[in-house]
């Protein structure tokens, strides 16, 4: 639906490895195009001012708040969203760590957390706790599952001290 006075622009994106040609409203953000035009609703909308990180995606190899990027600015770019992390049904190492460590509570911030954490691990293979906390500082979690999120990132990095934060995963049968 075209709104009054709206300019529409044809752009091309590579989204999660797949080429997409889409005609977008010139004033629409990458977030709006991902969610509304491409039906990739894994990327979340919350603050719309680049503070909460729920809309974090990777654009041409660096993470951005997709609420602050106009879709036309991303023309020709390569975007990875949370939907692009798994290999088919096989979760990425980081996703699996989030699952195993209980990092996701309500889950609404998790797509953004995952994108920011993956970016961090791409830059720093074996980060310290402080580096992870700093790397995720732009991603709010109101459930405040930060201990588990940081623990999951360290676990995905194969960090020797990842149990320091969460304790070892419990053995259900042993606990019975």
């Amino acid at each position: 639906m075209t709104a009054p006075g709206e300019t529409r622009v044809a752009i091309e994106l590579t989204v999660n490895g797949r080429g997409r040609a889409v005609e977008v409203a010139a004033h629409h953000t990458l977030l709006e195009v991902l969610r509304d035009d491409l039906a990739l609703t894994g990327t979340k909308e919350c603050c719309l001012v680049g503070e909460c990180g729920a809309c974090t995606v990777s654009l041409d190899g660096r993470i951005v708040d997709s609420c602050l990027v106009l879709a036309v600015e991303a023309d020709g770019g390569s975007v990875t969203t949370v939907e692009g992390l798994a290999d088919g049904a096989r979760l990425s190492r980081l996703q699996q760590a989030f699952l195993d460590r209980g990092a996701a509570q309500c889950g609404f911030c998790i797509p953004g957390q995952l994108m920011a954490a993956q970016d961090l691990l791409d830059r720093i293979a074996d980060p310290t706790v402080a580096e992870v906390q700093e790397g995720l500082a732009g991603n709010l979690c109101r459930c405040a599952g930060y201990e588990q999120i940081v623990g999951a990132v360290l676990a995905a990095a194969g960090h020797a001290d990842d149990t320091l934060l969460n304790g070892p995963a419990s053995d259900p049968d042993a606990a019975r």
Partner: protein, 763 residues
Amino acid sequence: MTARVGGSPNRVGGIGRVTGGQAYVADIHLPGELHAKLVTLPVAHARVLGIDAAAARAVPGVHLVMSAADLPAPMPRFGPQYRDRPVLADGEITYHGQPVAAVAAESRDAAEAAAALVTVRYEELPAVTSVAAALAPGAPLVQDPSLRPGDPLAGTNVLREHRVGWGDVDSTPADVVVEGTWTFPMVTHFAIEPHAFIAAPDDGGIAVWSTIQHPNWLQRIIAGLTGLPLSRVRVFAPDPGGGFGGKQHAKYEPLVALMALRAGRPVRLVLSLEETFLAVRRAAAEVHVRTGLRLDGTLCFQDVRADYLIGAYVDIADRVVGKGSYLAAGPYRMPSARVVARPILSHTVPSTAFRGFGNPQVNWAVESNLDEAALRLGIDRLEIRLMNLARKGEAFIPWDTPADGDWAQVVRRAAELVGWDRPAVRGRGRGIAVGIKSGPTTGLSYSTVRLLADGSVVVYAGTSDMGQGARTVLAQIAGDELGAPLDWVTVVMGDTAVVPYDQQTSASRSTVLMGNAVLAACRDIQARLRAIAARVHGVDEAAIRVERGVAVLPDREIPIRELLGPGLGRLGGELIGVGETRLDAAPEHPLGGAPAFFEFNCTAIEAEVDEATGDVTLTRHVTVSDVGKAINPLQVRMQDEGAAIQGLGHTLMEHYILDDAGRIRNLGAIDYRIPTSMDLPVEMVSDFVENEDGPGPYGSKGMSEGALLCVSAAVAGAVRDAAGIRIRDLPLTPERVWRALRERDRDDSGAASGSEEHTEDDA
């Protein structure tokens, strides 16, 4: 993955949460849907003189502009306690953010453009936005007295006066009386998922999708407003992206439902984060405490006066005040107590339930006051708590549920984990506080459980899983009892046409009340399995037990799954169990019912204060809760740590800033800060006590609010210990701390500022 109770399997629903596949309300789209946008005014209080929507209606794609004139007269109103909240402002705006009109259009852009073109003529009126202003003689009345017929207080801004107490405070002797006034700010829930609503005509009825915590309560509200029978109001409640109480009760669902019925098409409304600030918040409070003690630290009386600043409509705030202040005397042996708590109406956003439900406000005051008393008497702050704490079984409120846990064990554990018996590192201080909250006082939860022919299980439970992990806990209970691995259990929630009634998801009730309902449904199935085992194996039924996934016969054990084939026979089918948990009201009880359990927590903090900047750093945050039994220990830790950090928000950084006209000036994520990964305690230590002495499955108690209750007092106690300053107003922002440090430095004695002037001898 095994479903055993006491283990920490991966979250049920976790895969959707790490792949982006989880569908929250805003992710759901219906064919032909219209997008709604609210029209609000930049005022807290105004008379509406006229609304001109012609320009808005002319915007291409606009389908509907609704204002009070388009709704029936008298204006339909709703609310969980009082039917006072209008669907749209009715001639008067009574808080900043109250919608005066709403637009529905073919696109979000068109709706937003049109909403900006709705012209409202209004006359701004004086707004009351503080307790003092609301109580001042001649203050404008926030609510028209006609909304509260027969109420003697209807001509004031005092909604009610809640009084609870025992003994005679005025004649109870005490060696010292320590007195102080403590304030708690307005804060907001800030769930990362903003509220979202969709309504659609549904073959003569209506379907509503909402981020709601209480789908059955919402169903009742919508049925009442539309005149439809409950069976024709179908509420879908997908797992909310965080609730914390802010999604308990109807907000804009009635508006969206009436718009959808008017338009004859689905209507969706997804709030912005700023709009959630204007929809939900926690009540601010001013709490005056007088604590009487003997010289040896024995408590004599607690005298508490708490004024909670609620909003323009009551929502659930009256209950928040009544229930939140009920335990103001604390978990202590207390010869006499007097608590007077008042919800004060104001021209502010209606306050509602928020994790802790009115308790954190009084806890901050009463526990901080106890710290001052201990310092005054020269008694250790841990010791004064331990010596007065009610012992298990003790009726610390004369008529009520006795202390239901070994609370001293919790306190000792927290003290041990913070190293209370060792001197703090130079420059650091320690604080300790306890918190108590009443669990649910009434409740009704039904569950249906189906054991399918292959041994897999479907559980129907009307609880909302907003992150607390109810889906996982309920799956563990059913899987363990019926012998199914966790990934063979499906938990169906959030559809009132399919799932049996549940009263609500609040007060940390679901593990206990819904958990017991699921357990009862499983027991129902187990009883059928006993009969099956007796028939198939020719054994007397009395000689058979069915429990934890197996049928125990005199000579062997048979897994339930192996019993099903021969038991169900050639037609197959399934076994259906039903369970119910009912916690009946007790009208003579001050809360309308006795608490099913108490949530008890002890928080101990070690902190340092930056003398140059006023910045407070927590070097260690210890939180220990009495959970009865941890059905899922990892989830218990996550809930407690999350509550602890949420408590740090209102303790150190969060508060609404209002201008003189009552407008909120720090809407949104830039100017209102919540804790990030950079604001965490250097060390977070969470632990829990399990004595299997709760009323829930396997001795569990409700938990997840406890760890928030006493954070403020523990942190402020540590700041006082570290820097010798006593701040009585939350949050403890760097500016406030810095100012207190300067004041301390000006004070020759170096004594804690403010502590002496609020203290008086004897009573």
